[in-house]
Symmetry: D2
Subunit: 367 residues, 4 copies
């Protein structure tokens, strides 16, 4: 019976969204905001605790190479404490993360949601499981209170962790090859995008590409007037966006900029692409939830009056010229976020906390 | 590698949302608005064409029993046309649909979106594939123009059809057993809902249950003041809803009442529950997209000042008294809608059409 | 110069919205929720203080007639306290308020925003200045903390008060006279509404009429499906409302139901009618701000499928049948709310408080 | 009676918003998009018709100085047609408009809404009455179809016109004087703004100032992250804006960018300032309607992480540095728009047209 198969896939899908793993821990990477002196102090504390190990374990700990000479970190002092420390204290660089992500069994972030986003940024392909610790109030992406780090990490290393695989998007900027217009006389960008093999030579060439955890935004950037771009889902034209811009968010990003643009809050297990216009000048473009199996393209028409700008997780901001487009699809490399509660329950917690939903909490059942 | 498995499930999920089937057609059910005389005429025309059959096929055709004596339908005249017709013209009733849904190989609806919803209503469990024909402009649920019915049906019967499995919800009204309060002294509804086996005897008993294709709405009904209800996802309290009501929609329903309540448009392949407040009196309750594997409950607190009303696809409207709740989950029986285009492309078409997105259509590629 | 005259009127308008008055106080009416025992206690305390008077003043105090026999109020005990009290303790009824509003020099409300609305309800024409005291947190309409009532009232009686004249609307239900259709063959409601003297005999007759401080709502009431009504501004058709309903709010009402329907927050000095659709099924009906010199009508077309219901400040709920309409215009009788700060500054305070805008208050200037 | 006075002011205010004037016409200015060749042709046609005059009138006509040598305009050919033309064909420049606005009895614009905005831009102080002609479909600001220009202008000159006085805002950029911090040690911008004479020397000095017809926007401009600014109404802190920006619109501007930001549609007679956040990161900042007698300030805190940018009617874009603010108030110089219908009825028309409200127009009464 077909409907049973559907049920089966639904269950499977749920299990994959939140999986239990037991790690054999040897190397741990620590990521923090190194310009924040207080955080360096906490990092030092954390490194020391990891160095000491429990039950004879001898972890290798990586901290950012900028800490090597930071007086607050005092690497030298740390190495003097115990002769074995020196060989087990390593320094990571962005390059190491990019080239050899398997060097780390897991990553600990110390800071706010921005630090977690930075972890995603460093690991554009495979990402080690990420423990996100916060020093103040928890956010949407920071799930553990640093006050209890010893207990949290001990338990995790011993019993394993539950990891939520957060969907990420890959965005590739497709640059229009100069002179393409000669080949394809009408200069219609949809023709060029979808003509596939029909057109020789090709009209576009891939440019910069980035993986995001929250969102890709195409907007007018510094242009004084609104941008007009074309939105495609797979090979279908969806709509012409006459707006300040458009936000294409993951479920994880649904609590960030996408929310400000009017999008819905979306549970991280939903395999979706959230598309929301930013200050649309047409009243009929409402936020859209599409399957993550689709490929979304946002194109600047060849005859557009202005260019547009694309940004990735609020970091890079790159200009799209007339005829260029950005192609967005689900990344093969999700972001494995260690959860503080099973079944993505901590997502609900973060929503309740941040939206002030908990103002009148109901008692839970005996258990 | 885990990420490959995730990719696999994503693909599988996509395929299941839109499947190709080849039917061995023997019995066809026709559904229309029998109070509309023009539609009865078209129904007659359709029945005649089906009776004649193609290539010697001899279908059994079911029309609504109220047509038996309708002069516009003229069953007698039809039966006189050909001796074999009499034995192959049957009459369906709501009871037959409910009890023996397998009597029909497929269903043809003739009318608007409301007629398609009615088909979903008649088949609360297994639903035969549904062809939805419209006489005027196409809607979100009506996908074929009746003008071309001969060609559409011939091709379908011969070559098979693509069917989109539309998610439906089951809503069960849970009535609080009188006297429960004595057992569970504090009368907290969350305690009662989630206490499970801990409480003997049980506090609630299942009442009416309905399957919906669009949405379940809990609102204040005829009450003059807003309702205050509690919203739960699985065993977690999400928020207290202080609003005119709440709309819990399927992706199919995202283009109906849910849109009016401020929800996003949601592609039918997304396995989601869309929760949107109706005129929320708190600014922080934003529309929510949850996985269809969750169980959602909306409860009227025992100490609420007013009751609430629940309605199913805009049809039934049933009062929820203090202490009652409605429990909503994905139905095991999806709604198989025959598609006019593969891969749910007709959903995009319906959006473009209805939102006036097509005002500036871009040319599509050669193919 | 014309532009100077415009400036002058702007200033005049501002001054009228917030005027200083000095009252000669003789009779004071007290209004509270008489089903709330705690409030009766506070009322007793307030009455006693007023009876004692300051500097020999001898006020007449009116309390609700239902308190006459309330043990918590203990009228007898009060009268025994001092021989003069008996002749100065009076009882008001809804009828007295309606017929002789000039009996009171001012009104004191004790309770929440609902109690202030009730004061507006009792005085459908002239309203005495209203002091609104709250026992808990202040609301949009309650402006004084009861804890400080002695000081507030002493100062007010001695120095005078600043009164904000809050715009109210009058809504009149216009009933279609049976048989009108014979006269005006096409039955078009716009024809009937605006034909004026051209049609003899008239097509509509005025029915119930109420004055509101917050809003008039026309909605589907207990009807299961959305209502379709016609909206007119003066003699112009604005739009056909396909929605759950429409909210027509005063600036005072902009913080109540109108906000839930998506309307803007509107300063009470603005002479405006705020029209907001409730769950509109068309995306292009956006909230509208019209001048209070316009007359707004909401009509149920003669051929509508369902009736509609109109409610006044959330109280009365009256059915509008096919052909009926409600006519809304600025009332000649504003609501004089005693302000806790001059220039309607307390409105900004109430917004800041309720919207949590004050979360990061900036320091104010020395003064 | 006070309430009668209120009524009187309300009526007066309504009359001033839409006044009848009879002009003694001698000099007419024509404004068009001089880069659009087709428009130059129409301009030529219009000039010729005005030159010929009716009933012996001899108008002086001003066209933009850039047309002097435009072949499509062919000034020489025009002057040869009739000897008197030469002396009556003049050329205007932006400088003339700015310095001697009384040179023109009225202005004719030929183009879209942008051309009308440009007229407002040219006349920063006194504005002559403006006739706005459109060649295609009418907009919110263009009210006359150029096809009928002869009839429209003849009637206007002979019978007089109705002019709607559209509210404009003046925005002044206030620059923080370097070294102010030394004086006012805490660097709190509210202290500095409102300290008035208390602080010597002053902390801010006025910079650029512009008058707008639509809106003033303060946003993040090219900055990649949201801006954080402080919003003040008169001397009260309203809220901290954590958003992409804030739009401060006139009622005229309520149909432009303000609408895209989520603001209400506001009738031009309403004396209001419309404040709407742009992609607010706090859910509780809802659009706000304030009286036009208030002074609104948007300030960049001294300790802000980024600057902000202010733009005027979408034209200038000027950076606000930390400590700077923009001060917005009603301009003494409204924009006199010649109306095609009395009582601002053409505003309702423009709304109906642009929002597709007219999809189901109701018949109007006999008249």
């Amino acid at each position: 019976e077909l409907s049973d198969m559907v049920l089966g896939v639904r269950e499977l899908s749920k299990h994959l969204a939140s999986i239990q793993i037991k790690m054999k821990v040897r190397a741990i990477m620590i990521l923090t905001k190194t310009y924040d002196r207080a955080l360096i102090g906490y990092t030092r504390k954390l490194v020391e605790w990891l160095m000491e190990g429990e039950k004879g374990s001898k972890y290798t700990v990586y901290v950012e190479d900028t800490l090597k000479d930071a007086p607050e970190f005092d690497a030298e002092g740390l190495e003097q404490k115990c002769p074995g420390y020196k060989s087990r204290l390593h320094y990571w660089s962005a390059e190491l993360c990019a080239k050899r992500p398997h060097s780390f069994d897991f990553v600990i972030t110390l800071g706010g949601d921005g630090t977690v986003l930075y972890a995603s940024w460093l690991f554009q392909k495979v990402v080690p499981p990420v423990f996100s610790f916060s020093l103040g109030s928890l956010g949407f992406l920071t799930k553990f209170d640093f006050c209890a780090f010893e207990e949290v990490l001990s338990t995790a290393i011993q019993d394993g962790v539950t990891v939520g695989l957060r969907l990420r998007f890959e965005g590739v900027i497709m640059r229009r090859i100069k002179g393409s217009k000669d080949i394809n006389t009408n200069g219609d960008i949809a023709d060029e995008i979808f003509s596939g093999a029909a057109l020789r030579p090709p009209t576009h060439t891939p440019g910069e590409a980035f993986v995001v955890l929250n969102e890709i935004v195409v907007d007018r950037g510094p242009n004084p007037t609104m941008s007009s771009t074309e939105l495609y889902g797979d090979d279908m034209h969806l709509t012409t966006i006459q707006a300040d811009g458009v936000c294409i968010a993951t479920p994880t990003g649904s609590t960030a900029y996408s929310l400000a643009a009017g999008g819905s809050l979306c549970h991280p297990e939903i395999p979706a692409i959230l598309i929301s216009p930013i200050c649309a000048h047409t009243l009929t473009f409402r936020p859209l939830v599409l399957p993550d199996s689709m490929v979304v393209r946002v194109a600047v028409p060849c005859d557009a009056r202005t260019t547009a700008w694309v940004s990735f997780d609020g970091r890079q901001r790159i200009e799209l010229n007339q005829g260029d487009y950005v192609m967005i699809s689900a990344s093969r490399f999700p972001f494995p976020a260690v959860q503080s509660k099973p079944d993505n329950k901590d997502w609900i917690d973060s929503i309740r906390r941040t939206m002030n939903w908990g103002s009148r909490p109901r008692q839970q059942a005996f258990s």
